[in-house]
Point group: C2
Chain length 234, copies 2
Amino acid sequence: MSETATSAGPAPEAPGAYGPTDLTVPTRGRPKASYDRALVHSILDEAYVCHLGFVRDGRPVVLPTLYGRVGERLYVHGSTGSRPLRMAGGGPAADPGLPVCLTVTHVDGLVLARSAFHHSVNYRSVVVHGTARQITDPDEKLAALDALVDHVVPGRSADSRPADAKELAATAVLALDLAEVSAKVRTGGVNEDPDDLRLPHWAGVIPLVTRYGTAIPDKDLDPSVALPGYLAAL
Amino acid sequence: MSETATSAGPAPEAPGAYGPTDLTVPTRGRPKASYDRALVHSILDEAYVCHLGFVRDGRPVVLPTLYGRVGERLYVHGSTGSRPLRMAGGGPAADPGLPVCLTVTHVDGLVLARSAFHHSVNYRSVVVHGTARQITDPDEKLAALDALVDHVVPGRSADSRPADAKELAATAVLALDLAEVSAKVRTGGVNEDPDDLRLPHWAGVIPLVTRYGTAIPDKDLDPSVALPGYLAAL
């Protein structure tokens, strides 16, 4: 089979949706995949860590890492000596990039059915397939690093010292375009076989909520520096 | 290079630790990897979803999925028609199994440094490399499904209807031994360059805490079925 046939690009897209492709249409599984851009963005923007998968010596590797989003492009970063960054090569002109799968998942609740079989979790996930390429343009690299910091706390990049030349040189940034993307969301209650409804087991959903704890100032923090509003509002 | 040389098995192990291997010793990155069994187990037992990576048509795929642990073995399950389950084949006797990387991550806090470069998160992660094989022994399959349910809420498998023959036939279970395993944990405060300490930016840690919300009973729940103690205690 030709390479073209096995790795078709995104199909023509609706304005608010990604085009489904062979890689993003699941063979099985409820719930169905969604290709809605706003949904994908909201899931990506709410999480702190993604799971980045790549192939090394023919075997899969999945590492947690921070990321940032600018429009339809995701960025991950790392030491220039780290494995995935080295594997992604020197940029678009230099090599074909690193095939990756970047996945983000929120667990929103535990779904306890009367039957073991129908236990589940409520969740929201996004799976991005694509080729990560190292950013070499200095302006895009700076913007990507701002996006990575602002992903941790929106607005934070404007309230911190930007990377200097030495830090920039030590940091590699990979870009991954949002093209082959799908989201899955499970919400709501228990799906149970009708015959099981009379069983004497409690059934329902236990919500899971992530909350911010009280900010812990750095031990060396100048006492005159107050907690900024964008952190107090968390 | 021979296959033996590229995929060496686990090194001799200390009783409380996994043996580091080529796959589990990172090339870079603070914090250092840990091979402590108790730490690995605690990180695995606290999360609800893992990210399972495998290779399909030469490309990485990373999917979120539930899992369970029994001693030094992890289990994941799915429809017998799902891709990774089909790719893992019919069991140890039938095929070589599916190379996987199973990763679990907790994000415990946002680390806000004065410098953009030193922003980070506090986290705990486990990365398991290995070959997943489909369970064919009926007793192990039942025990694995109990472990999957008890992973959602400990003790829950004893308070739900076990899978019947039809459900068992529709469910495939993969086993992954904890052999090539490492954990990474970042805790504590900001690591900052001394020159940055006088900068006028707030610095410190914002803890992240996951909490259980109020249980939502199924709309069809018999009002005589009270919330069991193991759920009220969450």
